[in-house]
Symmetry: C2
Subunit: 353 residues, 2 copies
């Protein structure tokens, strides 16, 4: 788990103090920042750059890739003689996952693709700090960093993946576009539904999942009296608890199929989950009904027909990627999942999306 | 926060594996264990002692003291040349707090009493593991270790206090006597009420506090259909979330007054909170009513008249100790707390108990 966390409106201002005890001589802090902030001088000016510290702006338009991680690591190694004092990721799930992966790959040999899987990382990562600017993915708290590699989309799951420090400042999520707010928040809601309905559930995950679920219901469906600030703070906590829930359980059908969409079409994780979940009433009944109410209440449009023009080959890859997520299917349906989940069934579902 | 945790029935069996990577040459693991387990050979046999590892059985009949910590540290230092590989605390809040304090005092000079307060500890503690065998105090997750010192009962609150590893095995809480189960569970419930009704509350603490509160309601009042195993697992999580809630907020009236009882009469924390909370309807209205229902439902007897025979001097000390808990009163009533909380008022309340 993340050993240190600060929370509260404006707590981003504590960053300089927090980093000061981790500064090593001649070793820079490297900031990986969502490039939407590149022109936000008010925000950037709050970052106190010292000596050779460096800002790297990264687009979150695409899901993070192992090749992108390798490239960033190569650039950092060639520019600096010393290992960085720390990596600070500022942004949504993409930036946070990149920061986690880069910090690992600075101390471990080879390509990030070599470490996709469970507990393959052997050396402690460089000190890394996560600062979410959008809530829902749970990337700030999770033990994984999901990357698209040459052969699969899969996380680097390890004890060295979690951030050493997280800064939860709800103020930073101001200004997120409405659609993105919704899709990313729904990533959390869907996590929780999958975890709470999964066969891997235990009392630990259940308690976190229930809290995140309740918070999502409050934010997206029930409470019209929440102020924007309250809503932002609560969604930040929903993301946190949702991430904790899946740290000790697993996601399910929506995530497995969304990985297929992401791999073939590059569909972003949040919207991908929404596209899939919208068609899963058969498996997640009442929760899909609630989801549709949330969609309606906030006037969100869920894309339709995204798989209509796939080639046979693309469809086959999509199905293979989805079916490859064995632990997710086992969580959803138990060991006998293959009696329920067939290529034909997945094709039928994909064609509805 | 605690960086590593395992959860689940039987996960205590992972202890040997978990410790193995922390073993240093010639440096023992020291186990501080509640002496109720001394004759429980089945349990003790599960602990895999190697080389010079040592079991120390400690009575939890009294609240932990700074002098007791100093004594334990002195004994360990005189018996072993090397600093221990780790301290493992097995028991309830008393044993967990002792384990945290001993691990700190093995690397910091002077007496434990010198470190009662906030952020006075300067050196990293010895690696320490917490294994609760009763649920409710939140000591397994908190950033403090509450000790009775020569001049006050106060915690050593520091970044080095939390356990490096916690093992949450609900099986270990089997066999706790009913009264103790109730008092300790109520410690959690009362934490949550105080935190949720406090002025220091933020969305972080609120989300944890609400979950712990809901779990307590489920366990102690609402759900008669829970199996013993489910109930144990849920109470373990309630304790965890309750501890997290107060890590970022504060307790209130019941804890402040209970500290007074503990200091003068040696009343244990859990039962002390119950004795006090029973008389706090004026401040915590509906929650005290719910508490009384729980007491009735489980046929628990809350001691009465505990302050009836106090000398004037004892009463004065009790009131002084309680009033000294400034942050707790500020949390309960805001900065103007002294207009509400007077020595006369506290005396009136104590005499009801």
């Amino acid at each position: 788990m993340v050993p240190k966390v600060v929370f509260g409106e404006g707590c981003f201002d504590q960053l300089t103090t927090i980093l000061s005890s981790h500064k090593k001589d001649k070793a820079p802090f490297i900031y990986l920042i969502d490039d939407v902030f590149e022109t936000n001088t008010e925000f950037i000016d709050k970052i106190n750059l010292r000596f050779n510290d460096k800002l790297i702006f990264v687009s979150a338009a695409e899901e993070p890739k192992t090749s992108q991680v390798d490239e960033l690591v190569k650039d950092i190694r060639s520019e600096f003689t010393n290992l960085p004092s720390g990596i600070i990721g500022i942004g949504g799930g993409t930036l946070l996952d990149l920061a986690k992966a880069v910090s690992i790959m600075l101390t471990n040999k080879g390509s990030a693709a070599d470490y996709q899987g469970w507990d393959l990382v052997k050396k402690k990562a460089v000190y890394h700090v996560g600062i979410p600017t959008i809530s829902g993915t749970g990337a700030e708290v999770s033990r994984t960093t999901v990357l698209t590699g040459p052969v699969r989309k899969l996380g680097i799951n390890s004890d060295f993946t979690p951030f050493d420090q997280v800064i939860l400042d709800p103020e930073l999520t101001q200004g997120v576009p409405k659609n993105q707010w919704f899709y990313t928040g729904m990533d959390c809601f869907i996590h929780c539904v999958e975890s709470l309905n999964g066969t891997f559930l235990n009392a630990f995950s259940q308690s976190y999942g229930e809290k995140a679920y309740d918070l999502c219901m409050e934010i997206f469906l029930k409470e019209d009296s929440l102020s924007d600030a309250e809503s932002r703070a609560k969604l930040m906590m929903a993301s946190w608890h949702g991430g904790m829930s899946i740290a000790y359980s697993q996601v399910g059908v929506a995530h497995a199929m969304s990985y297929g969409l992401g791999y073939v079409l590059g569909t972003k994780h949040g919207i991908g989950n929404c596209i899939v979940f919208n068609q899963l009433e058969e498996y997640y009944g009442e929760d899909v009904v609630l989801f549709k109410k949330m969609v309606e209440k906030h006037g969100i449009e869920i894309p339709q027909g995204v798989c209509a023009n796939l080639t046979d080959e693309q469809m086959e890859i999509m199905i293979n990627v989805a079916m490859g997520m064995v632990p997710l299917w086992e969580n959803a349906f138990g060991e006998e999942w293959q009696s329920i989940v067939t290529p034909e069934k997945l094709k039928e579902l994909y064609l509805k999306m």
